[in-house]
């Protein structure tokens, strides 16, 4: 019932909202997929990654380059980008999952920094700091409203499939490896393989968000591969509440609103972002959604 009401609201939104808001909503959707894919690893697998921008960025660059350099249409470029990025996730998973905890985090970070550095320096291919321009959207979705519906549909499908994944027997096993990896292997679960499959799956959804990202902006810059981008995704997950289905979506909305609104008034977006990181970790370690709920309960029990 609530879900149906939300769906109606979202479908009706472009009819009442101005173009700026419709575009902002599209960006939130795309970022929500990205955050949700990080949440698969962080929230359900207990694997903190600082390299998830790799999948967003590589899918975006692949699709852009296939279109620009080889002149391929979206029908070929999009599946190729998804497939290529997912294969990269297969490989990166083999390397990063040699470790867990801090080691995993450093390996994912190091791998993504390599891609970022390469995108900056391989000017012949990526045009470096200038980024790639002149990209197109599929289906000529050039006005804000039609792209909004496209992004909405893609996001709904993605989130639904990720929710299925989490709610499946495999998802239950993944959560088990988060809480008691040793016990899980004593129960006959292949802990490493469960993590690797989840890593690849999360990489795939990162790639999906990357495609939507490059369609929306019609432009791609190395900054999309940067640590900042990975960290913003991680921030969205933690801000919203990791290990919950709705958390990353709320978190994505918070980060995007901050970025678009506050940065219009304050020039120092990076300082603000840094402060938000510190404040959330120190004061709301379990996330805004559970945190607000907790504060509300305390408030309600007093009155």
């Amino acid at each position: 019932m609530k879900l149906a009401a939300l769906a109606c609201l979202l479908v009706a939104f472009p009819l009442v909202g101005g173009e700026f808001y419709v575009n902002l909503a599209s960006q939130i959707f795309i970022f929500a997929i990205f955050a949700a894919s990080i949440n698969l690893l962080l929230g359900y697998g207990g694997l903190a990654t600082l390299g998830h921008a790799s999948y967003l960025g590589v899918a975006a660059y692949t699709s852009a380059l296939l279109g620009l350099k080889l002149g391929l249409g979206h029908w070929i470029a999009a599946p190729a980008a998804l497939l290529g990025t997912t294969l990269m996730a297969c490989l990166f998973g083999l390397i990063a999952l040699r470790a867990t905890g801090l080691g995993f985090l450093m390996l994912t970070l190091a791998l993504s920094q390599v891609l970022w550095g390469t995108a900056y320096r391989w000017v012949a291919l990526t045009d470096g700091d200038n980024g790639l321009r002149g990209l197109s959207r599929p289906f000529h979705l050039d006005d804000a409203a039609s792209f909004y519906y496209f992004a909405l549909a893609a996001t709904a499908a993605s989130l639904w499939l990720m929710a299925r994944f989490v709610g499946s027997p495999f998802g239950a096993a993944l959560r088990g490896t988060r809480d008691q990896p040793r016990r899980m292997s004593a129960l006959g679960h292949n802990v490493w393989l469960i993590r690797w499959v989840s890593f690849v799956y999360a990489g795939f959804w990162g790639a999906v968000s990357g495609l939507l990202f490059v369609y929306y902006h019609k432009y791609i810059h190395p900054i999309s591969l940067s640590l900042t981008n990975s960290a913003e995704g991680l921030l969205a997950v933690i801000a919203g509440g990791s290990g919950t289905l709705g958390g990353p979506v709320v978190g994505a909305a918070i980060v995007m609103l901050l970025k678009n609104y506050v940065s219009a008034y304050i020039e120092r977006w990076n300082t603000l972002l840094g402060l938000v990181f510190v404040l959330i970790v120190v004061f709301m370690p379990e996330g805004v959604v559970p945190g607000v709920k907790r504060l509300w309960l305390r408030f309600a029990s007093r009155t």
Partner: protein, 243 residues
């Protein structure tokens, strides 16, 4: 044929031998007790059998199959199950979910990422909980139940795997007298076709449950035999009484 055979197992931690040259043979259906004072290497021995720790030398043979090079979860699929001395459960989940994860470990379903978590698993899990007398707590969280109940969940998780060889690591540790009696009954009710190897550091608590006893001391087997033989052996006294 032996259910479990260990050949010259060795393990050291940073030069300190924890297990030196242990060989053991447990017959199918046997109830074997491994005793020894704290620090004798009992849990380390279990960890070598399950593969939780890599061994330095020697072999682990399960029903005439050498499993020494198999990963822990592969050994589990060949019928090996264990419990932990330090309770290792999923504290955020319910009792039935804990058991369901155990059932899932040996089910093909565990790789299914697209259908929703099967209610049948919970039905089966409750049946397992009923065997250890905890069905009424199936929907409680692990964190909410008493220590003695957690011990029983530990055992239920291993039983749910329908093991052929079951390793119990101090299943009576920290229990009250009444709780001990319950858990002992539970262990006594395990079907005969399951081979049970149990660790205990306190000699008196578990003697009556064993058919054969192995005494481990400083990582070596010093005495092995029937209950009467082991109790009568002067070396057992030496270990336990210190002279």
């Amino acid at each position: 044929m032996a259910a479990l055979r260990l050949q010259n197992l060795r393990k050291s931690f940073g030069g300190l031998p924890a297990i030196s040259d242990v060989s053991l043979e447990v017959a199918p259906g046997e109830r074997r007790l491994i005793i020894g004072p704290n620090g004798a290497g009992k849990t380390t021995l279990f960890n070598l059998v399950t593969g939780d720790l890599p061994r330095d030398a020697g072999n682990v043979i399960l029903f005439e199959e050498d499993v020494t090079r198999l990963a822990p979860h592969h050994r589990v699929h060949r019928g090996l199950a264990r419990t932990y001395q330090i309770i290792t459960l999923f504290p955020k989940d319910t009792l039935e979910h804990n058991i369901a994860l155990s059932l899932l470990g040996l089910s093909k379903l565990r790789w299914n990422a697209f259908r929703s978590f099967d209610a049948d698993l919970y039905v089966e899990a409750r049946a397992v909980l009923a065997r250890v007398g905890l069905e009424h707590l199936a929907k409680r969280g692990i964190a909410e139940v008493a220590y003695g109940d957690k011990r029983r969940v530990e055992i239920a998780m291993a039983l749910a795997q329908k093991p052929r060889v079951l390793l119990l690591d101090e299943p009576l540790a920290g229990l009250s007298r009444e709780e001990r009696a319950t858990v002992k009954q539970l262990i006594a009710a395990i079907p005969r076709e399951v081979t049970v190897v149990m660790i205990e550091h306190d000699m008196d608590t578990a003697l009556d449950m064993a058919e054969r006893i192995t005494v481990l001391h400083y990582g070596r087997v010093i005495v092995e035999g029937t209950r009467a033989e082991v109790v009568a052996d002067p070396k057992t006294r030496e270990v336990y009484l210190g002279h």
